[in-house]
């Protein structure tokens, strides 16, 4: 398990790119199994492409999303409530994956 270094996370895309990719991919796959695949793809491609993970300390991560994520999702029909709900779950999954990938969680 790679030793996590919060300072190195400042330059995360250079130092931890592989780990970040793995976390995003794992979360994507899990969500894709459980929820509407079209919606998960749309969130992945249209919302998460402007997301950014931050390390909060104490093994916790935070995912910053772009403003008005609901407005960014186009090309599929989904009501706001379902979108928000799924997005919340997706973000939770991502944060959990990050904790796992960086060794904070079994």
């Amino acid at each position: 398990m790679a030793e996590f270094d919060p300072e190195k996370f400042e330059d995360k895309y250079a130092n931890y790119f592989t780990e970040l990719q793995r976390a995003y991919k794992n979360a994507f796959e899990r969500m894709n199994e459980r929820y509407d695949s079209e919606l998960i793809h749309a969130i992945d491609q249209q919302v998460l492409n402007e997301s950014e993970p931050f390390y909060e300390g104490d093994g916790e991560f935070r995912i910053d999303l772009p403003e008005n994520p609901g407005d960014r999702v186009t090309g599929i029909i989904v009501d706001d409530e379902k979108l928000d709900e799924t997005l919340d779950i997706y973000v939770d999954e991502l944060e959990a994956e990050l904790r796992s990938v960086f060794g904070f969680e079994e």
Partner: protein, 119 residues
């Protein structure tokens, strides 16, 4: 003797392309592709489209963010990177063919204004 030092435009495109190949071999390894769609040398903006398997594979958001974040740091002329998988605009598909050798013809007249060679 390098002769291409005079040709700023192609040099920049080549550096962007090399940057992608060097730092993001995963794109090709995973069956995806990254095509440079446009480079605006005046504003320092570059548009890149990820295609192939990158459209909807779960790691493209991170790849896009990484390209955006790192390219502006490593290539001083680049101020802003637009990168997507072509799915943002609506409808479906997003599987636009993109060929590595594809270059959009330099139709913009502004590009030929001959940047003064910095000495």
């Amino acid at each position: 003797m390098s002769t291409d030092a005079q040709n700023d435009g192609d040099d920049l495109e080549e550096r962007v392309s090399n940057f992608l190949r060097r730092n993001f071999p995963q794109i090709q390894m995973h069956g995806g592709s990254a095509a440079i769609q446009n480079i605006d040398r005046e504003t320092g903006e570059v548009s890149i489209q990820l295609g192939g398997a990158c459209s909807g594979c779960g790691i493209s958001p991170m790849t896009i963010q990484a390209i955006k974040s790192r390219m502006v740091k490593e290539i001083p002329e680049i101020e802003k990177v637009h990168a997507d998988t072509g799915m943002g605009g609506g409808g479906g598909g997003g599987m636009e063919p993109s060929f590595p050798g594809e270059t959009t013809d330099d139709g913009d007249d502004g590009a030929d204004e001959g940047p003064q060679a910095p000495f």
